[in-house]
């Protein structure tokens, strides 16, 4: 069942949002490529949760407030956003850039979170294990390097791109550079504060992630007390797209543990 598209306003910022399903609220924070469509992965989650998928400020057709200048600003925005759920705790899930934002939210305030899931998150740096240089890759490389299964890449590359979609991709690329260009894909302070995350946490990584090597997963596991690490074989940087069943199942398993 496809999600419904709405607008959502937090303070004076208006963003595009998709939502669907019923159950406890789950907030999904998307990655650098933005929020093109309601994914099969969201359908799987919506059997257990009410899923909220906002498009970050600065991305796509959401507002682009001038004050949003770094990942910390995005995290503070989502703390305001989460306040909107009232006293109901939420399950927070973030992919890549969105995983980084989710971790930045969690180190600031965990009291409104029921669980945290990070899917191939950016945010920390291990010396000697650099991220792939997605800003230098051409369009085809960028897509191929996201997936283990090149049939998915072929399918994406085969789709025509309208001018409107091209503009949105460019907007997302600008927003991504703003947040992730320098220092490249990490906040030097973040890893010092990950011990403050006190909710059940799941770290999911594609074994064949060409953007952030899967060796990062173990480091995240060490830094977040009591967290569980799942490495998915034959999977690239986007487990939610490439292995939606396993990824959703792991999130539901984490949820079951919190009840």
């Amino acid at each position: 069942m496809p999600g419904t598209e709405t607008k959502h306003t937090v303070r004076d910022v208006n963003v595009r949002m998709m939502r669907g399903g019923s159950g406890p609220p789950l907030l999904f924070l998307h990655g650098a490529n933005g929020l093109p469509v309601w994914l099969p992965f969201f359908d799987l989650l919506s059997k257990h949760f009410e899923v909220f998928v906002p498009e970050h400020p600065g991305f796509g057709t959401s507002d682009n407030p001038r004050w949003l200048r770094n990942i910390g600003d995005l995290a503070m925005y989502y703390l305001d956003f989460i306040d909107g759920f009232g006293s109901q705790p939420i399950h927070l899930v973030g992919q890549s850039l969105g995983g980084w934002a989710a971790a930045e939210v969690a180190v600031r305030n965990c009291s409104r979170l029921k669980s945290l899931t990070l899917l191939g998150p950016a945010g920390i740096r291990i010396k000697g294990l650099p991220s792939g240089d997605n800003f230098i890759w051409d369009q085809e490389e960028s897509i191929r390097n996201l997936y283990h299964n090149q049939a998915i890449a072929d399918q994406v590359l085969g789709m025509p791109i309208s001018d409107e979609q091209a503009d949105i991709m460019l907007t997302n690329r600008f927003a991504t550079a703003k947040l992730g260009w320098e220092p490249r894909w990490y906040n030097p302070s973040l890893e010092r504060w990950l011990h403050r995350i006190s909710v059940p946490t799941l770290i999911v990584w594609g074994k064949d992630d060409k953007l952030f090597p899967s060796a990062y997963a173990a480091r995240w596991g060490e830094l977040i007390p009591g967290s569980r690490v799942e490495i998915i074989p034959e999977c690239g940087h986007v487990p939610a797209v490439e292995k939606p069943d396993i990824t959703a199942k792991e999130i539901v398993r984490l949820y079951a543990g919190t009840r």
Binding site: D163, L170, E182
Partner: protein, 380 residues
Amino acid sequence: MQFTFFHLMPYRPLDMVERHKHRAGWVVLPNTLYDPVKGAEEYQSYIDQLVYAEKLGFDVIAVNEHHQTAYGLMPAPNLIAANLIARTTKAKIAIIGRALPLVNNPMNIAEEFAMLDNLSKGRIITGFVRGIGNEYHATGINPFYSHERYHEAHDLIVQAWTKPGPFSFEGEHYNFRYVNLWPRPYQSPHPPIWIPSMGSSETVKWAAAPERKYPFLVTFSSRELVARYLNVYRDQAKAYGYEASPDQLGWASPVYVADTDERARKEAKEGVETLFNDFLAVPFQMLLPPGYMSLESMKNTMRMRKALGARKRLTFEELAESGTVVVGSPKTVRDQLSRLRDETRAHKLITMLQFGTLPDDLTRRNMEMFASEVMPHLKN
């Protein structure tokens, strides 16, 4: 006209087969392809050419800044300028330019230019640029903040040159409790600032503002685009309520003169084609990182690019045809340059008389012929 002899200092001994095993002649081109023994000879030849240009009567000799590339061997152009100061007496020395956003302390740029201005007793011309997109990959500086950093660094440098110190500077990217330049620049109020540009409308608007009136130099563009961009500048000046003086307008172009058209074209071909295809060309993702251009300009550029299709090697013939390079007999070159001068009323001509792999002997003959057969006819 005012004539500038400009040098990029390319690394000519580059192995072009190896070069094309990499996505660009920039940033990712392994520096094992640079041979210091050959490179040192290149520096010597090029500095000799710049010094020779003064003897031949050029008004200005000029260098610029590029990083991690065989395209230009001057990551620190002020070092070359210092050398030129010691070896020349009357030519102006232009550093066009330094890439302001790429540094974390623009005070260093203000200080170095002020030192050069003192050392040369006021012969320095400065240029303020943002660097090519590639250089945001080379330095790690976030291109999203390129424009902001440029404007802030510009304000800081000009204030450091003109406002009595110490004072404090409070910016978004640059903050200094003490701005107090020792030495102050030799020229008053400060050395000239030229703005080389590919013609972005944002830059025109900013450079032409009455409080700046910075000379605007269109680089690497066809005859048609040079004329169009200089007209945009002139119109912008009118919109600000003044008439742009010819001194505010200029363009930069590779130029090659020989006794006949045929000979000139034959001798210039390889240098021109290597300049554009082997040294300068880079993939789109490197040339225009996100934020280097405004989002609106970038959207338009992407659409034009989609319409143009795949990039191919530029040929000498099409570059000559469009007037991006000016090549021919003295008469041909005089005619082409004077036509564009008359059309644009631009007073500044930035010549690149060495380009790509063009060897020393041809470069010198080109310089001599340009100085004797072309320059006098265009002087006034």
